[in-house]
């Protein structure tokens, strides 16, 4: 029974990925299939070649990787610091700030589009990669801060006091005591930040859509206009977009499941 349930979950999540993968192997130029097709009749990689012709793939990739390389560590650091600071506050101020942080989760993102556009315009960073990295300065989403906060609150407070008695500053306490004890949560935060920044289509569309700054999601998104005979190119793009995310999650899966702060 449990195995069956697990299989069901796996199928539900894996099926779309499998279909995309299968679709990307269909040769370019054939008419689109009538229905779902688990494996194309004569699979090939022509869609990937065509993808390279239609989009500046290496530049898209480079931009996306650049954004993620800067934004993910930055977001993780900010979230961890903010969560740590929240956890150190006396109960009263803490409750307030945690409440506000939770409230921020309810702010609809479209509310921020125009203010952010104006801000980026005035600072002069429109059509650079900066607007794609900037959310990391605010930990990408309040959710990561709350994650970090919960993790640091689970650490017995005497450990902070013991460190303080030894003269450890806040930064040293965070680095030597806090961070090693919440490594699983920190990994999870990095994963959340990665998924957001890697697939960040909207910010790219709004603030950075010139040739030079275009990232992978935007570049692939534009393929939606190809005609039916080239549909497999769109699938190939989706695979290129998905593979790094899957690899990144596989890479962090082991530390995520093995560490102690989940308990």
């Amino acid at each position: 029974m449990r195995v069956a349930l697990r299989l069901l979950v796996v199928v539900v999540f894996l099926a779309p990925l499998a279909l995309v993968l299968a679709g990307s192997l269909r040769r370019v130029g054939l008419p689109p299939p009538a229905g779902l097709e688990l494996l194309p009749a004569s699979p090939g990689l022509t869609a990937y070649d065509r993808l390279g012709e239609l989009t500046p793939l290496s530049r898209l990739l480079r931009n996306s990787v650049l954004v993620v390389l800067v934004a993910v560590p930055l977001a993780t650091l900010v979230a961890s610091w903010a969560g740590f600071a929240l956890a150190q506050l006396p109960p009263r101020g803490r409750r307030w700030l945690v409440g506000i942080t939770t409230g921020l989760l309810l702010v609809p993102l479209p509310m921020l589009w125009i203010p952010r556009f104006v801000l980026y315009l005035q600072v002069g960073v429109l059509d650079t990669l900066v607007p794609l990295i900037a959310p990391a300065l605010a930990a990408t989403t309040p959710f990561t801060v709350l994650l970090a906060y919960r993790a640091f609150r689970r650490v017995p407070p005497e450990l902070w006091e013991a460190a303080r008695l030894e003269g450890a500053s806040a930064l040293v306490t965070w680095w030597r005591v806090g961070l090693p004890l919440v490594s699983a949560t920190t990994t999870a935060i990095a994963a959340v930040a990665f998924v957001f920044h890697w697939g960040n289509y909207l910010d790219a569309l709004l603030y950075a859509q010139s040739e030079a700054t275009r990232t992978l999601p935007l570049g692939i998104g534009e393929l939606a206009t190809v005609d039916g005979a080239e549909q497999s190119v769109l699938f190939a793009g989706a695979v290129v977009l998905a593979v790094p995310a899957v690899l990144a999650l596989l890479a962090v899966q082991r530390p995520l499941l093995a560490t102690r702060d989940g308990s």
């Binding site: 017995p156 005497e158 450990l159 006091e161 013991a162 460190a163 303080r164 008695l165 030894e166 003269g167 450890a168 040293v172 030597r176 005591v177 090693p180 004890l181 102690r260």
Partner: protein, 286 residues
């Protein structure tokens, strides 16, 4: 060695936190060896704290735990190792230096916490409920071991406990706290023989002093100073057999008395007996 004892919420732990600098006093001052400590940060006070539950860093080895403070204070590696080894030797932790706290027994963890305090070379040890997280069966041994260790070291130690028998057996002097106020500080003997307030009287000793209301006075009498004679003064409410002695709970005018009687001399429950009080202590009703 000063034992601080009191019911929970009486301010015992707060007192330790004031001494070690985790809290600042609203008024008054903290002096250690005559030196005013206001404005001195915790790490520069000549105080080391052993937390309740020990607060060992679970991700660090014994060596790293003991050397944590030295490392934070950027003591050079050679010196650090030497001092960690010295403390480990003193506490018999030498073979455990590369273990993590999770791999240690309760007693070993306590010794690691003590070693971490010892490397600071403090003038005062603060210990918060040092025995409470140990198995009750091991507590008596651990108590003796702890006493030997602290005495051998010859340093001042302040330790907090809610267990009056622990305070009486470990402390050279015992301070009794109640609701943040100091009720009495004295030797265990003086505390037992001449409690300053009815609260101290009712807190110290097993069983505690019996308190009787007599007009405008409270009269306290220890169970060993109650003698049973033929008579009608008291109603025998219950008899508790403790093996080496029998305690008799008596209802008398003004309250309840406990009497210690030799095994075999207990009156039957429900009967009436006469009572002669030996040494008593009296306080005005406050």
């Amino acid at each position: 060695m000063l034992a601080v004892v009191g019911p929970s919420g009486s301010g015992k732990t707060t007192l330790l936190r004031l001494v070690c600098g985790l809290l600042g006093p609203d008024e008054g001052s903290v002096r250690i060896g005559g030196q005013e400590q206001a404005g001195v940060p915790p790490e520069r006070r000549p105080v080391a704290m052993v937390f309740q539950g020990y607060a060992l860093f679970p991700h660090l080895t014994v060596r790293e735990n003991v050397g944590f403070g030295l490392r934070v204070r950027r003591v050079r590696r050679g010196d650090r190792d030497a001092r960690v080894h010295e403390a480990a030797q003193k506490l018999g932790l030498y073979d455990l230096l590369d273990r993590q706290p999770a791999e240690l027994s309760g007693g070993e963890r306590q010794r690691v916490a003590l070693a971490r305090a010892l490397v600071r070379d403090p003038a005062v040890f603060c210990l918060d409920e040092p025995l409470s997280s140990l198995d009750p069966l091991l507590r008596a041994d651990a108590r003796r071991e702890l006493a030997d260790l602290l005495r051998a070291d010859g340093r001042c130690a302040v330790f907090v406990t809610h267990d009056q028998s622990e305070a009486m057996t470990l402390g050279d002097r015992v301070a009794v706290l109640r609701d943040g106020c100091l009720e009495q500080v004295d030797t265990p003997r003086a505390l037992y023989d001449a409690p300053a307030t009815p609260f101290v009287a009712s807190f110290v000793g097993t069983p505690a002093m019996s308190l009787l209301r007599r007009g405008s006075q409270v009269v306290g009498v220890r169970p060993e100073h109650v003698r049973l004679v033929p008579g009608q003064d008291a109603f025998v409410h219950a008899v508790e057999d403790h093996g080496h002695e029998v305690q008799v709970l008596l209802d008398v005018d003004g309250g309840r008395l406990v009497a210690r009687v030799p095994v075999g001399d207990a009156p039957p429950v429900g009967s009436r007996v006469g009572v002669v009080l030996g040494r008593t202590t009296t306080w005005p009703v406050g």
